[in-house]
Symmetry: C2
Subunit: 397 residues, 2 copies
């Protein structure tokens, strides 16, 4: 049984703040500073270039991959880390398209995070005008997978609504249609149980600064199904994905398995901090996370709906097809979220009118959820959002 009072204690949470935005940026693990000191002062400072060997920086991307793999049903050695999620989406998609050379359509939904669609658009334009991106509503995905499709590329949990695809069923459908399946786990890894092996997914990608708490701009991850990994050609063929980076050959030879998805010199300091954040997951059972997450989100929905009918639930009411977030539609959602933040409750806003709340069992409590729901209802009901300082838009919302 996961001890959530212990996991909560491992995070720095500012006094009095109710933080329901761990699905944007997870909070700082208390160990982060000591680890930063170690990697900066003891390793970089004292070992200098020798850190690559002496502190084993070289194996960090794969070590981190193995830790993440345990949370997403991926075997050891099948996940590596580095770059950003956008880059990893591009890598997965470029490789996937080449595995299915007769077909030229990439299929996704409009609940996919925009950068996934943008990266696909950029890649497909490079490949030629025969290549197309087809995008439907999330609910229509299953009915539109046919044998014209080269690659199905979906984010499991919709960043707007929290609606969750049925990974196993859609992957099966994609395979029956002869398509390659890519899953983006940005809002899944650490949020809901994922079993990539059982679902037989071909590729998966994700970020580590949300539910995995790696810090701002922490590196991304990529999974390639082990029996495919030695067959894929990395379009982004960087030297650290080379079979022998330090041979300095003029020609590229891909490294073994998923290691070929490494590209350039990895961000060692961010990676060391991510490693500290992933240590919090030792002894955590994803099944416990799921039970607790549902408890938190159900309670939130119940209280908000009891307190106001001005905000409308846009997440699935049934917890089963819902990730670890709850979203409400409210015309003045932007201002309401700013008013909420001014009351020390952090959720976030997603255009055009969505108020979004993430629930992270590692550190969120039922009391926090109850408090947040109460304040949200008060703001929405009383019109407390209607002040100029709350309506003024900032760069990052």
């Amino acid at each position: 049984m996961t001890d959530f009072s212990n996991t909560r204690q491992q995070f720095h949470l500012p006094e009095g703040l109710v933080y329901l935005d761990g699905n944007s940026l997870g909070p700082m693990p208390k160990s982060a500073l000591a680890v930063a000191r170690r990697v900066i002062a003891d390793e970089w400072g004292e070992m200098l270039i020798g850190g690559w060997n002496k502190a084993d920086w070289m194996s960090l991307p794969m070590r981190l991959g193995d830790r993440i793999g345990r949370l997403i049903g991926a075997p050891a050695g099948s996940v590596t880390t580095g770059d950003t999620l956008s880059i990893k989406v591009y890598q997965a998609l470029a490789s996937a398209l080449e595995l299915n050379p007769g077909r030229k359509t990439v299929f996704s939904d409009n609940g996919n995070f925009p950068t996934d669609l943008y990266m696909a658009e950029g890649l497909l334009k490079s490949l030629g005008e025969d290549f197309k991106l087809k995008v439907v509503d999330p609910e229509a995905v299953a009915d539109h997978i046919d044998d014209s499709i080269a690659v199905v590329m979906l984010t499991e949990v919709d960043y707007r609504t929290g609606r969750m695809h049925d990974m196993a069923a859609i992957t099966r459908k994609a395979h029956e249609a002869g398509a390659i399946m890519i899953w983006d786990l940005a809002h899944s890894a650490g949020a809901v149980p994922v079993d990539l092996s059982a679902a037989n997914a071909d590729f998966a990608v994700g970020c580590t600064y949300k539910y995995l708490n790696g810090g701002p701009g922490a590196p991304a991850f990529i999974y390639v199904r082990p029996d495919l990994a030695d067959r894929v050609r990395p379009a982004l063929s960087g030297w650290l994905g080379h079979e022998a980076p330090f041979a300095f050959d003029l020609d590229y030879r891909p490294g073994a398995g998923v290691e070929r998805m490494r590209v350039g010199t990895p961000p060692i300091i961010q990676m060391a901090i991510l490693e500290a954040a992933l240590e919090v997951w030792e002894g955590v059972d994803m099944a416990d996370i799921r039970i607790r997450s549902i408890e938190l989100s159900q309670r939130f929905i119940e209280l908000v709906e009891a307190g106001t009918d001005k905000a409308v639930l846009v997440s699935p009411r049934d917890p089963q097809p819902r990730g670890s977030q709850v979203s409400f539609r409210f015309a003045e959602g932007y201002a309401a979220i700013q008013a909420l933040i001014a009351r020390n409750v952090v959720g976030d806003f997603r255009a055009p009118n969505i108020m979004r709340f993430g629930f992270c069992p590692l550190y969120n409590s039922l009391e926090e959820v109850e408090q947040a729901a109460g304040i949200l209802c008060e703001i929405v009901e009383t019109g407390a959002w209607n002040r100029p300082e709350f309506r003024k838009r900032q760069a990052v919302t």
Copy 2:
């Protein structure tokens, strides 16, 4: 006049160590730890998601770009930072090829760092079999630029020998032949004076963990000539290069100028540390750096050649076409470098037989250079390299 005793004091240099490998990984600026504490504890820890606005993380990539721009002759707003050098090479090359649609040959030399060639190879394979990478010896570059070439892609300073291309002359030649010119400044930025504007370069890329001392895996940079920047199509079209990332549109619209070369969420912690490292450059004149660099490297060559004839200079003897490094060929170079490290002098080895030494005026002194040359000669002359522990290869060399 640059005060090099002041710049040296701004770095942590382990007692007794002579570090001539800043061309692989620069040493830690003393301010790095305090900045890491600020960005981790005060910003991430206390502001959480609010850091993007309150601590202005959002503008960090462009702020860093402006600081780097001042060292490479690039105007404000023409350089941005993020990702790795490999990724930035890919971006520049993909964009450059589209600016020259009738041509399909990318031209480079075998002194380019392998990852540049690998990334080109990966991109060209994706684009189709008409696309070719042509590679010649560095000395032959000027004579092989003709109107079949779409893009000339060169690293200004050869990572093996330190041989430096004539940036202005080759760029002119490329343009006369109707080609686009990309410069990789990995061994130039902070090492030698660079004037991208005067040379009329189209694209430039570089890394920040060598002479710019940003730390292991610090982000890369990319420059696009301002009059081209609004015309280039980013192949890696990520959300932070979008005109309005937080509108969450389904379609990609490139941001203004070089901002479109941003891709995913940038590594804020590494970037904050890089910012601290770039502050050391305030008040530093690149002309002074060059004078001092030549003084250090000439003295090293003189002393090594006076002390042994077993190691053969492979860098240009004339300082003018040489970057801020000196390399000697020695059949047992790998073991000799290990023996040297055991004597507290750090240089590095590049396959197959090159002993490489970087000179960084910010912190290297003439006394260090003299000491290093003496110990190197002793090792080479006496055969002190010939011990099993020095000949045993490690992962990173």
